[in-house]
């Protein structure tokens, strides 16, 4: 009997590898053999690590850019925000409110006092602040503006920009777990025509819950779902497709749950975003085939009494991203990962009557990683040359996407974004040891 059991398990494991390879191989063959830009040498270029990863952090609700990157050098800032303006670096704390952290003294800009995490990354040459990012004819609806950012199109229609990145680089074969969103729903940004994202709120739910019903349930379930393509279904049929996907799902579930079961190499703070990034960090460490991860935090729609609320959000954001970066460094994966932080819009220059701010336009983006031209990119938008009380953007967000797609993901940005956009110099190919 033991022999029999052994053979059976071996057979299972072998079929497992075969079936899950079947779906991933074409894309990687395509990538390494032909290169994504038709350059056969691309993947073997020195200093260009294979399997680069993009992590997107979405701040939902419209983050107040002016209290994130604080233009303390401008009196107009304090005139527009008498109650909620953050004081210049070095000023004494008042009512428990700390002064801004200095970022670029010559430009008179600083960081929110709670963004100590970002400050540390900035000082370490790992953070780029891209100032005044927006787009023409800004839309102030949360949904529409978010769709504009996620589709990369001003009409907010069609597939997502990350989805199109996959569609353009994977010739008809999606990568299982190529695009992973940690959260209840997969964002539009990751929806392609070919590549579809997967989303799960917590790895513990990325599995069959029926096994909790009774201890006898797991074995038959596994046998049914891990039969893979050897289960007797003819190639190309609907049944074969489903059996193969069922096996892939089991493999992915095993890998992801094994990954997050491991103690991370650094301590993460307690927050929703930190938990999401901890999961992302664990998955990167476990070498999952994922190329783009998506994490998000909400609550940025600060229409009233925003000082305290926004301070909490800034604390969570900065600390979570710093812990994540430290984790990547401890793993030795720092050089493979670029993190991008964005929100659908900034907020009005003037505070409103309830010590909050209403929906606005341009705002800063943040990029984190060792391959960046670290520092401040672009100018702080003028606080006096306004468009109906709102900031005018200086850098189109699709320019930032272009830079990330071409210089980080090595993908054809023009085809993906369906347009050519000026490319700011954000990423430098530093040969990292």
């Amino acid at each position: 009997m033991p022999d029999n059991a052994f053979t059976r398990r071996l057979f299972l494991e072998r079929s497992l590898t075969l079936a899950s390879l079947a779906a991933t191989v074409p894309c990687f063959i395509e990538r390494s053999a032909l290169g994504m830009l038709g350059n056969p040498l691309l993947s073997s270029q020195p200093g260009v690590p294979d399997q680069r990863i993009l992590v997107i952090v979405q701040l939902g609700g419209g983050n107040d850019g002016l209290n994130t990157v604080v233009p303390y050098g401008s009196p107009d800032y304090y005139n527009a925000r008498p109650q909620i303006g953050l004081r210049a670096p070095g000023a004494a704390a008042q009512n428990g409110q700390q002064a801004a952290l200095d970022l670029a003294n010559a430009q008179g800009i600083g960081l929110h006092p709670n963004l100590t995490g970002f400050k540390e990354l900035y000082d370490g040459g790992l953070l780029t602040v891209v100032q005044g990012v927006g787009y023409p004819n800004p839309n102030r609806s949360h949904f529409t503006s978010m769709d504009i950012w996620q589709t990369g199109r001003l009409d907010a229609k069609g597939s997502g920009w990350i989805g199109r990145y996959f569609d353009n680089t994977c010739n008809g074969t999606p990568i299982p777990e190529g695009a992973v969103a940690i959260g209840r729903n997969a964002p539009l940004a990751m929806q392609g025509d070919i590549q579809k994202p997967i989303a799960f709120e917590s790895p513990s739910l990325f599995r069959w819950l029926g096994e909790d019903l009774h201890r006898t349930m797991k074995d038959p379930y596994d046998a049914i779902n891990r039969a893979g393509a050897v289960g007797g279904a003819a190639a190309g049929t609907q049944r074969e497709f489903l059996m193969r996907t069922a096996l892939d799902a089991q493999v992915a579930s095993d890998k992801i749950r094994a990954a997050v079961a491991k103690q991370p190499l650094v301590q993460y703070p307690q927050s929703g975003l930190a938990n999401q990034l901890k999961t992302v960090g664990a998955m990167i460490r476990a070498e999952l085939p994922t190329r783009v991860y998506y994490a998000s935090m909400g609550g940025f729609d600060t229409h009233g009494g925003q000082l305290g609320t926004h301070a909490n959000l800034m604390r969570q954001l900065g600390d979570a991203v710093l812990a994540f970066q430290n984790d990547l460094k401890a793993q030795g994966n720092e050089g493979r990962v670029l993190t991008m932080v964005f929100s659908e819009f900034g907020r009005r220059v003037k505070q409103n009557a309830s010590n909050g701010t209403d929906h606005g336009t341009a705002a800063p983006m943040f990029l984190v990683g060792p391959s960046l031209k670290a520092g401040v990119c672009g100018n702080h938008p003028s606080l006096t040359d306004l468009d109906q009380g709102d900031l005018k953007y200086g850098i189109d967000f699709r320019s930032v996407y272009t830079s990330i797609l071409e210089d980080w993901m090595k993908a054809p940005a023009e085809a993906i974004l369906r347009g050519k956009f000026a490319k700011p110099e954000l990423i430098v190919a530093k040969a990292k040891a």
Binding site: N185, K196, I198, L205, D219, N225, A227, L242, T245, D358
Partner: protein
Amino acid sequence: MANPLQPLAKKDFDYAAAQHLLNRAGFGGTPAQVRALVELGLDDAVDYIVDFKGEAAGPTAAEFRGIMRGETPEERETLRRARAAGDEETIARLQGERQAREKSDREQLAEMQKWWLAKMISTGRPLEEKLTLFWHGHFATGYRTIENSYHMLAQNAFLRANAAGNFADLVRGIIRDPAMLKYLDNDENRRRSPNENLARELMELFTLGEGNDYTERDIKEGARALTGMTFRGDDFFFNQQEHDPTPKTILGRTGGFSGDEFVSIILEHPVCSRFIVSKLYKFFVNDAPVPPKDAGDAVTRLAKDFRAKRYEIRPILKTLFRSQHFYAKDNRLSVVKSPTQLMVQTIRSLGTPVREMSALAQAGDLMGQQLFQPPSVKGWDGGRAWINTATLFVRQNVVVYLVTGRRPAAFDWDPSELSYDVSPLVAHLRDSGGGVDPHEAVRALAAFALGGEPAPERLDELDRFLGSLGGTVTDDRVKAMLCLIGAMPEYQLC
């Protein structure tokens, strides 16, 4: 070559065939319902379903109302004065009122999603709801863009009223539908600044198919024909001043065409009926990437018929549902269930409790189908696009939820403690002593739940499972088996 649309021999309309019809033309049914269809016989069964002879049971939409409206002239004036005077408080108040309306409108949409699901679960006219869902995906309109739940409801009622009627009426109606006019920006399609969005999708997605024998120029000219077609409040409005009456050339014909004339020109194009029939075929018959050999022949014949019958939908559905082709082995279990089909069919055929409607709406969203919110104007891709490693777990877990009450999104149990009576599924298997043979139970449950016999080796695990528990078939074990069958990859097909 034999005509694949030849009617099925009457004697071949057996239990499995009737179940196939009920799954495809509706959302499945109980063993008793399947038997009733067999007794009706092929012709009457198809008539019963396609002529909507059942009762349109289900919740009414009477409680829904119009919430979103533009600002009144008074509000606009107040806002203008407040802005001029820098009166932040008034501006904030008006904004607050608007946000409150938006919030209750979103809440109403959530109620509408549950309402429609409930209707699909309880209706005696399943094909009516299934076709409404088909047209919703075809004339896809998303709430998030139009932000007016009442207009989505009106569109839903329009699609339902014409679901099995005439395709030309559907197209003529949809270019007068406020939700669609807003969604594709035709309210901004003006004589001096035409907006091509509706004209483009009308040809590309609604009637002819992408690049099928029309040009960019036809789109531009067609857009001019549609100028002035807009809405006021909840009603269609033709704005004569914004309409461009000057000559246009569309698909080779020249005239000062109106929007309706533009539609007539498109509908006369021979590719239209084939495009629509192909889409119906994928939805009702087979959505595998490589369809069976005689699929093309079946589609060609149906398309010809559709055109000859001037786009009447019922006759071609009857021909299809009576055809040998529809019941051919290649076309059994060859459609991937949509998330809605998966949930509604599980409830209607296995007879599980409905449980919490909001949990089902949420599960639908997680599986990629949120009613009233298709992902884009292309609608849902359907077929294999429904399935990936994450949606597959949700699909398996939603069956566990329906059968046992264990919620898919959390570890708690359904507090309503609805009991699930499985006896209709096994009653016919009981011997004189009330016992059920386990071997027979496995086969009967799997064949019924899956809509066909699975490969024999796929049942071994279920036999082993039941055997490991001592072999007695209790209600709890039937439920456990249904959870396992619902977790079989084969369960995703109908």
